[in-house]
């Protein structure tokens, strides 16, 4: 029994693992409390689609409940779904995975990422991550006992990691390169030549590549390069993806990992002891999404593209230059012209104009001087938010002079 006198902060802290204790909380949630106490806020700080899951997919989920599909599925997920995924990856990206041994259905792509890290990392192994990064990348690496080696990217290079920068950071401990393109928070996409350069490095130094392609379907005017489809990359790539962004299914928690069977076996081992299987209802819905969801995906992509153009153009007009994001649903404008740092900018903007954006440093030090604006919100909200930002920038530019 604990002595009540010992329940000081220090005493409690010692009960929490040092690794978890030292992990910084996600910077993205910093404004959460401030925000929830305010009214009439337009939030561009959201990282999920504003569309509801297409009706036919919701209907398939409901139907599975009505039919009584309420039991576990196999650890790997329903074979029917894995077969659909194998077809999908083959048809769309020309990379073939064996549905029985090379695909694992996970609870969102987040689980897939966690599994991949835990399955490959030995204590002290290093994982190269482009900065700015998705908030979970370094955290997952650390929790798995690895060391995240962040590699700066910049606006000049369209926020794509350069092979030479990676090479400069490769040591004996380097185990893997973790990339996520199209990227959150920058909206950057990776070209074929850039991907191939990384592929060459992976071969040269015998590294694994973990490719988080959750935004693969949300690209505008460019073709998505599926990393394992590059020559000789299938056997050394762990592909992570899901349905959250493409089919507006964030709350269903359904994703998948595709990789060589050695990896899938290892990931499945952890998965079976921690998760057992992904929700059956969500798996049934995902089958419907793959079979009949394409036209709805295309409709959403077209809509995002209109909003993307509107947001990027208006940001430029306001005086917040923004490199053209060709994927995901984020714009990543520079706010350096205001003389403020990202956090001050975001906080003042929220208090003065009731527009929420996420300060760039929440995604790593290279995010300083930028904010993330999500355009997965209605056109009228985007227009109003940018009107308010315009007013804010004009006012604050004057202040600095």
């Amino acid at each position: 029994m604990l002595n009540t006198k010992s329940t000081t902060t220090e005493a409690w802290d010692s009960l929490i693992s040092q690794k978890v204790d030292s992990l910084p909380p996600s910077g993205i949630r910093k404004f959460f409390d401030l925000l929830s106490s305010m009214e009439d806020v337009i939030s561009l700080g959201i990282g999920e689609p504003d569309f509801v899951t297409p009706w036919h997919i919701r209907e398939a989920g409901t139907y599975s409940l009505e039919k009584g599909y309420t039991m576990y599925t196999s650890n790997s997920g329903m074979l029917e779904l894995r077969q659909e995924l194998a077809n999908y990856l083959e048809l769309r990206y020309g990379v073939s995975y064996h549905p029985e041994h090379e695909i694992l259905i996970t609870v969102g792509s987040s689980e897939g990422l966690d599994l991949a890290m835990r399955a490959i990392i030995n204590p002290g192994d290093e994982v190269i991550i482009p900065d700015p990064y998705y908030v979970a990348y370094p955290a997952n690496t650390i929790l798995a006992g690895g060391v995240p080696i962040s590699t700066p990217t910049s606006e000049e290079n369209n926020f794509v990691i350069k092979a030479t920068d990676i090479e400069a950071r490769i040591t004996k401990q380097t185990k893997a390169i973790l990339i996520g393109y199209p990227a959150n928070p920058t909206g950057a996409v990776m070209s074929k030549s850039e991907s191939s350069a990384i592929a060459e490095l992976a071969k040269k130094y015998n590294l694994l590549v973990i490719s988080d392609e959750i935004y693969a379907r949300l690209v505008y005017g460019v073709e998505h390069i599926c990393f394992p489809s590059l020559p000789e990359m299938k056997e050394r790539t762990i592909l992570i993806s899901g349905f959250s962004k493409s089919h507006a299914m964030t709350g269903w928690r359904i994703g998948y990992v595709a990789a060589d069977r050695r990896f899938i076996q290892a990931l499945t081992k952890i998965h079976q002891y921690t998760m057992l299987c992904a929700p059956t209802m969500a798996q049934m819905a995902a089958i419907e999404a793959l079979r009949n969801g394409d036209s709805e995906v295309e409709k959403m992509v077209q809509e995002y593209n209109r909003r993307r153009r509107l947001m990027v153009k208006r940001l430029h007009e306001i005086g917040l230059p923004c490199f053209e994001p060709k994927g995901a649903f984020y714009a990543f404008p520079s706010i350096k012209a205001t003389g403020m740092n990202s956090e001050d900018f975001a906080e003042k903007l929220l208090i003065e104009e009731k527009v929420a954006v996420v300060p760039g440093p929440a995604f790593g030090p290279c995010g300083e001087g930028f904010v993330r604006c999500c355009y997965a919100t209605s056109l009228s909200d985007i227009e109003e938010a940018l009107r308010r930002m315009d007013r804010f920038v004009r006012k604050n530019k004057l202040n600095t002079k």
């Binding site: 996600s26 993205i28 404004f31 700080g45 209109r306 929420a356 056109l379």
Partner: protein, 160 residues
């Protein structure tokens, strides 16, 4: 070009400037396409969808099945025109199946609709029979749903 019309169909008040940004074409070109479409009657009209019952303005609606005798040379068109010219007729369709015309009729009250049917529609020479279905509830019209509580934003304000 199709995309411009899709945007206008969703929001008739979208300005050429807004549309030009969204489709990444010069404003002048968008204006030209819209002008031409108006001229060619591709764009017929700019309308507003109003939920009248919400204002307590309860029009009565009826869907009427009409069986008619087609005429030599003009088929169903001549008699259809005689029918759809009545201002009471809101929509009119030639349909396949057990009857020929499906028309949607609007009136202030039941009396008004029944007098339209008995005094104007049924007595027409080529109308063989009519079946009138009064509308009880509107669920969806022109792609817009009614009677649904306005969707509140269910998303958390900040997510990764």
């Amino acid at each position: 070009m199709k995309e411009i019309f899709e945007i206008l169909e969703q929001n008739a008040r979208a300005t050429p400037e807004q549309i030009s940004t969204m489709v990444d074409k010069p404003v002048s070109e968008v204006e030209k396409i819209i002008r031409q479409a108006e001229k060619d009657a591709i764009i017929l009209k700019y309308k507003t969808i109003i939920d009248w019952p919400k204002l307590g303005e309860g029009d009565i609606w009826a869907l009427i099945e009409v069986r008619i005798t087609p005429q030599r040379d003009v088929g169903f068109d001549a008699i259809a025109e005689r029918i759809y010219q009545f201002p009471e007729v809101y929509s009119a369709y030639l349909v396949s199946g057990t009857y020929d015309l499906a028309i949607l009729v609007k009136g202030k009250n039941m009396q008004e609709i029944s007098s339209f049917v008995t005094e104007k529609l049924a007595p027409l020479e080529r109308v063989q029979s009519t079946v009138t279905h009064f509308l009880l509830k509107r669920y969806k019209e022109n792609g817009e749903t009614f009677h649904l509580p306005k969707e509140t934003n269910k998303r958390l304000p900040i997510t990764p």
